[in-house]
């Protein structure tokens, strides 16, 4: 298996991912799954500036669903990123991520969001998506950095 991390983080490619996780996981590729970004060349260029020597691929959710097996079979190590829960949920529809772990990395406060951790603020809809994701056999947990304590979804939602 060569997708070494599935992460939901609204900042996508940024310091925690590239330096914090990147130092430990040594990715060869970042796969950024986002329908809007996949159509925005100038934003892609900005994100690429932060990715160092790793390849950066921007895809729509539908395209990513078709490429999951390719990335899994590839010897190159991929970190897959979405910036919201809904996108990861669409990616996982039909059980495509069954048996995988999904990392909740950072969603800041905003209207209609409740704070579950200092770095994690979810809407009721997000929480429902995550419960459904877990029901398809995905291990969902929150951890901003590799050496931080991992908080499982069940604990998060009970808090």
């Amino acid at each position: 298996m060569s997708i070494v991390l599935f992460r939901i983080d609204e900042r996508l490619i940024h310091g925690q991912v590239v330096i914090g996780w990147g130092y430990q996981l040594r990715p060869d590729r970042y796969a950024v799954v986002d329908d809007d970004l996949a159509a925005s060349q100038w934003e892609q260029d900005l994100y690429r500036l932060g990715a160092g020597t790793a390849e950066v691929v921007f895809t729509t959710t539908e395209d990513a669903r078709e490429r999951l097996s390719e990335w899994r079979d590839d010897a190159r190590r991929t970190i897959l990123l979405t910036r919201d829960v809904a996108t990861m949920s669409r990616l996982a529809a039909g059980g495509t991520l069954s048996g995988e772990s999904v990392n909740l990395g950072g969603i800041h406060h905003g209207p209609g969001r409740r704070e579950l951790l200092t770095y994690l603020h979810l809407t009721a809809e997000d929480e429902e998506h995550l419960v459904n994701l877990a029901a398809t056999g995905v291990d969902v947990g929150a951890r901003d950095l590799p050496d931080a304590h991992r908080v499982p979804l069940k604990t998060l939602l009970e808090g």
């Binding site: 900042r11 490619i13 100038w42 500036l49 932060g50 160092g52």
Partner: protein, 131 residues
């Protein structure tokens, strides 16, 4: 030397770094550091950070200093300064760079920016030198 409208400096950094750098500049230069504004990414999503930066920069001729290019601060700065001839991003900010800025912010970008990069780089050294 080409004199231009004095530039505003905005320091964008992780945690308390920006505030610390601006405070340190103020301790050395006094009131001249009023041309610097700190902005932290703490607790802000990318849109909030970018909107706050836009609000600070406004119509000013501005140099936006960031700590890490590969980060939310760098992304916000690059997006904010995109397509503007009155805004420039300088990454890898350090104190000598800010001190140089405070004293030379009336220079045109063509003169100012290269000297900021040079002052920032020139301040990095090991003592004794180990090659």
């Amino acid at each position: 030397m080409n004199e231009a409208e004095p530039a505003l400096g905005v320091v964008v950094g992780h945690g308390a770094l920006a505030q610390g750098l601006v405070d340190a500049t103020r301790r050395i230069t006094g009131g001249m550091a009023e041309c610097l504004a700190p902005l932290s990414n703490d607790g802000k999503n990318p849109e909030q950070l970018k909107a706050e930066l836009e609000g600070i920069v406004g119509d000013s001729r501005s140099v936006v200093f960031v700590d890490l290019q590969a980060g939310s601060c760098g992304m916000a700065a690059l997006a904010c300064c995109r397509d503007s001839l009155r805004r420039v991003v300088v990454t890898g900010v350090n104190l000598p760079m800010l001190l140089d800025f405070v004293f030379n912010r009336r220079l045109s970008f063509e003169e100012l920016v290269p000297r900021l990069l040079e002052s920032g780089r020139a301040s990095i050294a090991a003592v004794p030198a180990i090659e």
